[in-house]
Amino acid sequence: MLFAIFRESLDKNEVEFELPDGSTVDDLQSAFGERFENVRKYISLSRVAVGNEFVGGDHVLRPENVVSFIPPVQGG
C-alpha cells in the first residue's frame, strides 16, 4: 500500500508485484525502485510494514502479504 509522497507521486494507492518464492523486503524494495524510478530516492528513507507491523529488510514475504511503504512519519 502506498501513502503520502509515494501515493501522490505515483497517483496510486496500491501496486502489485510478482516475486520469486523466498523474496525478502529488500528484494521488493529493489523491484519497486526499478519499476518507479521517480520515487526511488524515497525508498532508503522509508520503512516497510507487513499488515500493521514494521518488518526488517530480511523479512521473507509471502504471496498473501499486504506490504506498506512507510515514508518518514510526521504525526503529532
Binding site: A4, L45, A49, N52, S68, V73, Q74, G75, G76
Partner: protein, 137 residues
C-alpha cells in the same frame, strides 16, 4: 481504559479530558499539538494529515499498552485529526489520568514521543508562498 481516535472532525479538549476523568485520578496531563504558522522560517497556511489508518490505530494501541505497563495510569486517550487543518487548530490531543502527577506527565510525554517515531501519519505543509511539501522526505 485506553482509547484511540483518528478522525477528520475537529478535536475538542474538554470531551477528550472527560474520557479519562475518574474519581480515582488526582492528576491529568494533556498534550495538545497545534498547527503553527511557520516552519523553519516559511509561512505555513495549512497542514494536511494522512494516515495508514488501520496500522496507525494498531501502533497507537500498542503504545498505550506499553505506557500502561510502565506507569500507573488509570485512563489514557490519544486522538489524532486527519485531513486539512488550519493554523491554530489541534492536530493531536493526548490525555492521561493517574492517581499522582508524575505518572501522568511521564506517560503523556512518552506517548507523544513514541507517536512521532512509530505511527504512520504524514504531514503535508501548505505554504503561503510555495508549493505544498510532504515533510521528512
Amino acid at each position: 481504559m485506553n482509547s484511540v481516535i483518528l478522525t477528520t472532525d475537529p478535536l475538542d479538549v474538554n470531551s477528550t479530558v472527560a474520557m479519562v476523568s475518574s474519581p480515582f485520578a488526582g492528576a491529568i496531563d494533556v498534550f495538545i499539538g497545534t498547527v503553527r504558522n511557520s516552519d523553519e522560517g516559511r509561512e505555513v497556511s495549512a497542514l494536511y494529515y494522512e494516515a495508514h489508518a488501520e496500522m496507525a490505530k494498531s501502533q497507537l494501541s500498542k503504545i498505550l499498552q506499553e505506557t500502561k505497563r510502565e506507569f500507573d495510569v488509570i485512563h489514557q486517550v490519544v486522538a489524532h485529526r486527519l485531513g486539512l487543518l488550519k493554523v491554530g487548530e489541534p492536530s493531536t490531543i493526548i490525555a492521561v489520568a493517574s492517581a499522582h502527577r508524575a505518572e501522568a506527565f511521564s506517560a503523556c510525554r512518552q506517548i507523544i514521543e513514541r507517536l512521532k517515531v512509530d505511527v504512520p501519519i504524514w504531514k503535508k505543509e501548505h505554504f503561503k508562498d510555495a508549493d505544498p511539501e510532504w515533510l521528512g522526505v
